[in-house]
Amino acid sequence: MTTDLISSLETIVGSRFVSGAAEERYLYSMDQGTMPPSEPDAVVLPATTDQVRQIVLLANERKVPVVPMGAGLVLSGLTRALRGGIIVDMKRMNRIIEVNPASRYAVVEGGASQGMLKAYLQKHHPELKHSMPDAPPVATVAGNVCIHGSGHLSVLGGSHSDMLTGMEVVLPSGEIVRTGSCGVSGQWFSRSPLPDLSGLFLGWAGTTGIITRLGIKLFPNYRHNDVLIFVAEDADLMPEMISRLTSVQAAEDMTPWMTPKPDWARGFLHINIAYGAHTKKELTFKRNLLQSSVREYIDRKIAGFLPLPPPQKGRFLKIPSPDLARFADLRRGGGFEYVGAIMAIEHFPKAYRAGLAIAEKHGVAYSLGARIIGAGHCMMFFFAYAFNRADPEDVKRASDALEATNTAALEIGGIPWKAELPAQKQIIEKMDPDTFGLMGRIRSVLDPNHIMNPGNWEK
């Protein structure tokens, strides 16, 4: 069966780009997180939308599972082939198709990386930028949009899925659909005013289709950029501080963080506030706005702005920052996973305390933080744990801590983001049954043979 499947896949993409070898099956069976491995039967690298379509048709004919994969950096095991089948690695489809500077959008292929888009814009449209996640630059634009990611323009533009302007998707049936304006006009400027079908593919963990192209919003790339770090000690004040800082609508990005290392940071709550401007005068104006918004706390001497020497500012302004990847080496063991929970801002204090308690209980190296999404509309609060992959006990500790964190996040009122399998089941338990029922019916309509990333979003 597998030999026959591989032979059929070779007919579609060429023998160089199909593998059923033990090496690929092993490496693609897992990601960097704590989820146990699950091997695919084959890995395939399509180069065109039509090849993706043919792969899906083949899978449908054979009733073989299909798992779409971007850079494989989700950390929560969403691109594991839970029931075998074909992993469709999208990275050969990495072209930047179009940039529309007047309407500020870019159209990219499903495997285009964040880094490539950033480089392309820097070279061809230096006046524009897109919102980069904190993921390494090989992360794909499509993958991050699909998981409702966020990034360094999320205060300005919301989640990355909010910045989506349209998609080309290969359905499980092999049909190719276009959501948003591109489905009607050929341009990719907006998801409105049509029925918003893009939602059928956002947050579904690849269970409803394979994105082959997408449009995303671009934003002005400022000539002058700066970062402020606001420091407080009382977690209970954080929601109000965030509310005030976002109320002046000057920041592009706002990321609270709390870590025990370096020593000077322990016990303090920091908020990095990134902002930019076309002129120095405008930058000063925005800085004044931000500082004035929290003046009361400074006057009361319960919070303040951290003086930052220019080299350190440069480090905080580096996008993407390799410092985040380096967290994985905290335990000298190459392992790193986190629960990112989307939740209301007012739950910040509870989330913070829960994170500290879980880290202490499980004895794990932690980093806590959040990214504010929109003008204080919600946040992605993350509880990150580093572990040593070579030490099974350390992996178990991190895994237990993650599970406890998912439970705590749900109890607080948050929702685990890009949830790994156990967390998906926890979410489903709390989800309104009719809503979950609708999810099932939608999947049945789109994917009657249940081939798309099966095992995810199931009871």
Partner: protein, 389 residues
Amino acid sequence: MEHEEILHRCFRCGYCKLPGNYVDINCPAYLAFGFETYAPAGRMWLLRAWLDQKIEAGQRFAEIMFSCTACGNCVEQCAFPEFRDRLLLAFTAGKEALLEAGIVPPEVRDYLTRIQTHGNAYGKPVKKSAEWALGLDIDPFSDQEYAFFVDDAGAFNPRGQEIARSVALLLKKAGISLGVLQDPLVTDGNDVKAMGETALFEDLAEKNIQVFQARNIRKIITLSPHSFNTLKNDYPAVGGQYQVFHYTQALAFAMKRLAFSAYLPEAVVAFHDPCYLGLHNADYGSARMVLQAVPGIRLTEMDRNRKNALCCGGGGGNFFTDILSGGEDTPARARIREAAAAGAQILAVACPLCAIMLEDAVKAENLDNTLRVQELSEIVTERIDFQAP
């Protein structure tokens, strides 16, 4: 396996796949094949799995490991300080372990066998290693300041021989005192070492060192950046300590001695940084100094240049084993497309292996009518005014 204690520390973040400006994939093997297994992180995880007996090593495993061109992009771009310094060492150790286990791609086995048997990758008698210079107006080495070392590509490959002759004559024209070694020389061993055949490398190095010592050689100019790298960095540990220069370094400071024709058309030239001059030895200036000294040459840069340069795909022995060949996204073909996109009329190279790889690629890309791959000394020589005093 040496360095095995670092394998599990790789997070697979993927910085190693890219250049520092993120413009495209910059790991040659990963670019050519696309599977995660062929990226540096994939190799790290596979080696760990093999050592942990979670996976058996077979021919594909060996092909993955030996597809590494040892270009050093991963070392340059890895996000983890200190750890990254050991990346290539770990890959070399992995290859060494595979060699010991007898799990080797046939192309690698044949390459190493030829070198073991003949002392060079071409299977030629080493006594003919100076024949490339027959009839050339360059003296045999006696008491000149520099010995010119051309390695087996310069000695036996027809295109390499052309380049060796061109470089030797230009160095002489620039007033550099050099001579050609008439003694039987074996290959430098650089790529043998990168393949993990440490014992064979040491044997090769010792043989060459014996020749150098017998001739009382102190200063060497190399044709190949590969030779420059290993003679400079590896031979001292085997007992051979020399002042080693790549020919671009010798030329860079002698250019003012050359007179150039005044009426040559302007040419837009991009320089392809060879890995063993650039990434391994941080010389990004010499070749550009040479080109900038030539009237009528306008230097342009490809998106991936200097520390971000893309390997031609010929490093780590791949020039001979050809493991990366066969697709549209071979590094050499990608490099040609990049040069064309940069508006270059000439892609300048300073390594015989790069020259041959890229000359093949420009034909494969059907760009040979608009883009010329040219070795640096040939570019300079074309513009010299030989009538000038």
